[in-house]
Amino acid sequence: MFLRMIRGTLLRQWKKMLMIAFTIALGASLAAAMLSVMLDVGDKVNQELKTYGANITVVPKSSSVLNDLYDVEGEESAGAYLREDELGKIKTIFWAFNIVDYAPFLNTQANLDDGSEIQVTGSWFNHHMELPTGETLDAGIASMRSWWELKEGLWLDEQTTDENSAMVGAELAEAQGLHAGDTIHVTGTAADLLLHVSGIYDAGGDEDNQLYVPLNTAQALGGLDGKVDSIEVSALTTPDNELAERAAKNPASLTVAQYEIWYCTAYASSICYQIQEVITDSVASPVRQVADSEGAILEKTQLLMVLITILSLIGAALGICNLVTASVMERSSEIGLMKAIGAQNGAISGLVLTEIFITAIFGGVIGFLAGFGFAQIIGHTVFGSAITMKPMVIPIVAVLVVLVTLIGSIPAIRMLLRLRPAEVLHGGH
């Protein structure tokens, strides 16, 4: 009988029930969309912030003192290099997944035919790596120097061009009258090479007076086989907190539990620490200019989205509450009739609640799917990539829908139960 009554309501009053389901679907879709976007916005903005370039630099221990402070040059600074064969290890650390991009650098001096001395930097452009995990990664400055403006020609493509290619800074190109497609003769300390100019870039900085060549070419010019000056790493990091700052100074000062938390969180300092573990004689340090700003911007964006989400959740909740209350109240005459023929309060509440909940579940599921769609639209329009769906959104939305439906229907039901059947049926309340 109970089931028959419910089926009867759902079938006969389907218009009204559809409206409730529609409102609940709207609210649920809003909640699902906002929660998904909010939970993923950190990762997305973090990716965008990678346009600022590396947030971690790795240099050999004591190289800074030798090269920069004492102006030592050439062979005397031997030993102050990192090893090229260890570069792949960066992708094997605990937080390997968070390392988005990295590139090694090797600086060497060289002379042009007119006698002028220039700095030649060897690096990866779009270095293709097969990782032990089976993944592949294209790393290098083509993506890490996204602010470089290509004036002429193309980015040097390591896969298709031979090693004797170079990219020339705008100011150097102007001074030497170089254009894309020209060749340039460069004499290094160990070899002299004829390089093919593949492109001319404008970096808006010191790099405009330099020559960028593939790493092996720079090693050949400087006679520094297998050596690397520094590595720039672009990693997704968690903003530093007090623990991370303490750990950065001295990881040994932490308790075992704290150490584990720190080591297993993607702080810039713990990633640095892990890089130092795999690269011999290296010092990895966060680039404060990038790391700190990223932290601040990420935090602000997330907080902003949290607050907007809360506002829209409140809006959705109140909207649903409203409509549920309204639609329950409308049925006063029907409920009056039920009471008149002897229905118990419990039976009436059970009936109304079950009806509403069947509708709510129906609306909630549809709303959730629609919300997921909205989230994807936002993700694709703004960030050009899909929003990852976090499983925790499902229970949150479910709890929200149930709670809101309950809160919306309880006061209405209580009011209905207080009605006197005679008055309602008479039509004069």
Partner: protein, 384 residues
């Protein structure tokens, strides 16, 4: 006149008598209007507020010499072009090779307050320099010479006139400075020492010139390039450049963020508007009986529609006003919590919010009213 009075009375009376029902509708309209005004205020303010956050990346414009001698007054002429409220900080830098413990080191003379404003990412262990006679040492320098905050440091400089002499150290200028802090940036700054411009001038014996000035300007890409053009055109003594790495990236990230807030606003807005519409539909559908009764005693469709429309538009108006106030409160709270600064009130939003909320409630009740008036009064009254 009489007629209008009656009309107003009917509308207000209807609103007052069905108080609880109307309050529910009003609440949903007010929420819709709050979302509208609150989110749009935030949308307009995000670039300004986030822009301030992006200034953490440091200088986005540098001034260099254009006419052979770059002085502090040249720099001031340059910075004067930029409006005071957009200029976050400006710092002059002069670099000289000095010696510490007989080792060559690059020393920079600057204005410490300016440097602190243009480079908020500098982390100083100890204190920032607050007066002349003090020095900040880079972390690498501090490590190699085992220097700590609080110690005195002798810095020496060989003037150009003495550099040709046999025994140059005799003619060295020296200055004793107190180390107030160790500078940690993760960048090349860690290899330098920083002192006030006045101290560097005393040390070198030459004054007046600087090498470069760093400017941190809170502005979007177009404004920045217009400032650069204006400085280059109006101040012949300096040449302004943008720090491409910072400006290009800021534009990318900022535009994405604004697009995100815009899209979110549109989605939330569309959904709340539909919510308002469904509520209004429910409110009107409920009153079919009343409409039937009115028709039975001879009211024309027009007058019924006019009356109901007036009622819902009045609701919309009140909800809109509430929404403007609540939306501003919400935006202000968000701004204070997220950015710790107050929000700029968009006056234009007041009429827009109220108008939109009147329109939405009016339109969303129009359809159900029309369908209600088409019903045969006899049927409605009979309860079928």
């Amino acid at each position: 006149m009489k007629k209008r009075q009656m009309y107003m009375r009917m509308i207000t009376a209807s609103l007052m008598r069905r108080r609880s029902r109307m309050l529910v509708a009003l609440l949903s309209i007010a929420i819709g209007a709050t979302v509208l005004s609150g989110l749009i205020t935030i949308y307009y303010d995000v670039p300004r507020q986030m822009g301030a956050q992006f200034r953490n990346y440091g200088a986005n414009m540098i001034l260099t010499d254009a006419d052979g001698s770059f002085t502090l007054s040249d720099m001031q002429q340059g910075t004067a072009v930029i409006p005071a409220d957009a200029l976050v900080g400006a710092a002059p830098y002069r670099y000289e090779n000095v010696r510490i413990h007989e080792q060559p080191i690059v020393a920079a003379g600057t204005d410490m307050a300016g440097a602190r404003a243009t480079s908020p990412f500098w982390r100083v262990e100890g204190e920032w320099c607050s007066a002349d006679g003090q020095i900040l040492v880079g972390a690498n320098v501090a490590e190699s010479f085992r220097l700590k905050a609080g110690e005195m440091l002798t810095v020496s400089y060989t003037p150009e006139t003495a550099q040709t002499q046999e025994d140059e150290t005799v003619l060295d200028n020296t200055i004793d400075l107190e180390i107030t802090g160790v500078l940690d940036t993760g960048g090349p700054e860690e290899d330098y020492v920083y002192m006030s411009l006045a101290d560097l001038e005393t040390l070198t014996g030459e004054s007046g010139t600087i090498d470069v000035a760093e400017l941190s300007v809170s502005a979007n890409a177009d404004e920045l390039s217009s400032y650069v053009d204006r400085i280059n055109a109006s101040v012949p003594a300096v040449k302004a450049h943008l720090v491409k790495r910072v400006t290009a990236s800021e534009t990318t990230v900022l535009s994405k963020l604004q697009a995100l807030v815009l899209l979110v606003t549109i989605v939330v807005l569309a959904l709340t508007m539909i919510c308002v519409a469904t509520t209004m539909t429910a409110v009107v559908t409920e009153r079919r009986k009343e409409i039937g009764l009115r028709k039975a005693i001879g009211a024309s469709d027009r007058s019924i529609i006019g009356e109901f429309l007036g009622e819902s538009m009045m609701l919309g108006g009140i909800g809109g006003v509430l929404g403007v106030v609540l939306g501003y409160v919400f935006a202000q709270q968000v701004s204070i919590n997220v950015f710790s600064s107050s929000i700029r009130f968009q006056w234009l939003l007041v009429p827009i919010t109220i108008l939109v909320s009147i329109l939405v409630t009016g339109l969303s009740s129009l359809l159900p009213i029309r369908s209600a008036t088409e019903v045969d009064p006899a049927l409605v009254l009979k309860g079928e």
